[in-house]
Amino acid sequence: MDHFPTNWGRPRNDTVDAYNTYPLHQRPDWRPKDSFADGIQRTQQPIVTGTSVLAIKYKDGIMMAADNLASYGSLARFKDIQRLHVVGDYTILGAGGDMSDFQHIQHTLDSLMIEEFSVDDGHKLGPPEIYEYLSRLMYGRRSEMNPLWNSILVGGFKDGKSFLGYVDLLGTTYSASTLATGYGSMIAQPLLRKAVEGREHLITEEEAREIIKTSMKVLFYRDARSLNKYQIGTITAAGPKIYEAQSSETEWSFAEGIRGYGAQTQ
Amino acid sequence: MSIMELNGGSVIAMVGKDCVAIASDLRLGNQALSISSNFQKIFPVTDRIYIGLPGLASDVATLRERFRLRVNMYTIKEERELEPETFAHLVSSTLYEKRFSPYFVEPVVAGLSKLPTSTPESPKFKPFICGTDLIGCLNFAKDFIVCGTASEKLFGVAEGLWEPDLEPEDLFETISQTLLNAVDRDAFSGWGAVVHVLTPDKVITRTLRGRMD
């Protein structure tokens, strides 16, 4: 005799003794099962990725650079991807990390700009507003344990003030006169700091371009997930501008002389 | 649980004007349980060299005897007194011998080394301190050496209190305050302290009362 009325009329659950009161009876669960529940990937990993982004402050505003590669693991999968993106009239984003997440962010921000335009209140979102929105978006997603797997630089120039900020998948934010993401933060950041820190208001556009060019070259030499094809973006009083892709002059003749490292010298 | 934190204990050494000081707590514990409040960690090596051995208590006893042996062998063979610098290298090589199964002890050496200009009539000495990690990497500091479970706290207080060229009594006060306040914030050190101040003509040894909690 099954003493539990909730089980009457249902198939018996043989894993428990129906004549005992312990363990507490379980009603058989006949609700439809979602066979794909285990397959939902919330805590993802980045798939198609971009590497470093660099940015510096200079006399007229902000200069930013990122190469055109989107890697699939170690495969150089897409070699004509733009990782700099203009938002509104005063801001450029540059992103490393997962490219599909970045394109989702582009879409979100573009929708936001349209929404703001439709309000027609004569107000335009500037770099600090976009940065705040983006960092709240990133922090909100990390708090849902479903992050947007990027590190992003936000550069801007509005009302005579330049802006440069960083935000990543954890929602961590900071500002400085030179910023770099990924490998750039280890390889290029020291070069950028040496060239820029303390003389932000003296650096001309040509000089800034030279600083960025040497840093991108060093990154191409040392970062195996980089490409010798990159774009520079500037944000000045004249507005945001992303330039045509360019490449660095490289010199590989020294490679002839390398005979391996450590014990392998033959 | 780290073996370095099994028995607890801390040692500090400081340089003063023509003097050095070395001090330690007196606790011996088994993890959080205190066993003894009279466990010696600092030992005289010669009249002018003291060594502090914070770490695993059994290795403290072993190393103390090993150093006694090697110092005696040196003195007999060389027929002269051992200098602190030499002893520091002796400590280092003894520890490095056991590079891949180390003694769990981070020794601190404090001593007065004889200057070349020193004569038996007017002896002249230079303060010397040094520390090593558990495999004998030497650290010759000009100011102070800290070791043991309260080392981080000792660093903070010593960096705030120490100044160059302290006279013996001021050095005593500085090292005592540094040690007591650091071990009071450490769960594995404390239960009293002992301080030795080495000067050219005498060694001042004082036992300090500390918090017993």
Binding site: D38, Q41, T43, Q44, Q45, Y139, R142, S143, M145, P147, Y166, L170, G171, T172, T173, Y174, S175, A176, S185, M186, Q189 | E152, K153, F155, G156, V157, E159, G160, L161, S176, Q177, L180, N181, A182, D184, R185, G210
Partner: protein
């Protein structure tokens, strides 16, 4: 099942904060370096924030959580102003911070907080919190990367621990402002010397109760007044350089 790497929603951004209460003032300080691992992210990211004309909050730990927490607290204080037409008193801010922190008990803000300011009775106060909201009022507190270095030094120099007063005398219960400021500066230069995550810059907020002269600030160069109430509470900030290596 695909190989899964668990996403870690936390990070540690280094730095150290410190606060000391005087009889009728409070000092709250923090370094300005923000780091992750061995990388310095920026040399200037403030960790100390003015909340009202008599309350200052220092946050240390995971920077993203810290910034959000400060924004939340500031927003709640603004709502309080709209509802009550006055600033929230210090002890109420302390309780507010507790409830905000405890509300996230099972997904905590990974942040250590120290609140400093002037109590309604005009005394200087410091409140310190753990990440899930447990708090107490104290005379001084250090937190963050160099807490272990600074706190025992403060025990010795503020509470006079292990020091015996001269016969017939007693230790002062509160120290004068100039003395407190020099202890704060010494604490941070010491921490900078021995801890890699501390350095670059130092920001010291000083909250003075009504009637307290800014005397102690005179020998500190670069003290800048940032607010003053009708009743006479004043908030100052002192910015100094720390070593950048």
């Amino acid at each position: 099942m695909p190989q899964q790497r668990q996403f870690n929603p936390y990070s540690e951004n280094g730095g150290t904060i410190l606060a000391i209460a005087g009889a009728d003032f409070a000092v709250v300080a923090g370094d300005t370096r923000q780091s992750e691992g061995y990388s310095i992210q920026t040399r200037y990211a403030p960790k100390v924030f003015r909340l009202t004309d008599k309350a200052v909050l220092a946050v240390n730990g995971f920077a993203a959580d810290g910034n959000i927490l400060v924004k939340t607290v500031k927003q709640r204080l603004e709502w309080y102003r709209h509802a009550h037409a006055k600033d929230m008193p210090l002890r109420a801010i302390a309780r507010l911070i507790q409830t905000i922190l405890y509300a996230k008990r099972f997904f905590p803000y990974y942040v250590y907080n120290i609140l400093g300011g002037i109590e309604e009775d005009g005394t200087g106060a410091v409140y310190s919190f753990d990440p899930v909201g447990s708090y107490e009022r104290e005379a001084c507190r250090a937190a963050g990367a160099a807490q272990a270095l600074v706190q025992p030094f403060l025990d010795n120099q503020i509470y006079f621990k292990n020091q015996k007063p001269k016969p017939g005398q007693s230790h002062p219960t509160h120290l004068p402002l100039d003395h407190v400021l020099s202890l704060v500066i010494d604490s941070f230069t010491s921490a900078t010397e021995r801890h890699i995550e501390v350095g670059d810059g130092l920001e010291i907020y000083v909250v003075l109760a009504r009637g307290h002269s800014a005397q102690g600030l005179s020998n500190i160069p670069g003290a800048q007044e940032i607010s003053q109430t009708d009743e006479g509470e004043r908030v100052f900030v002192v910015r100094r350089d720390l070593k950048k290596d």
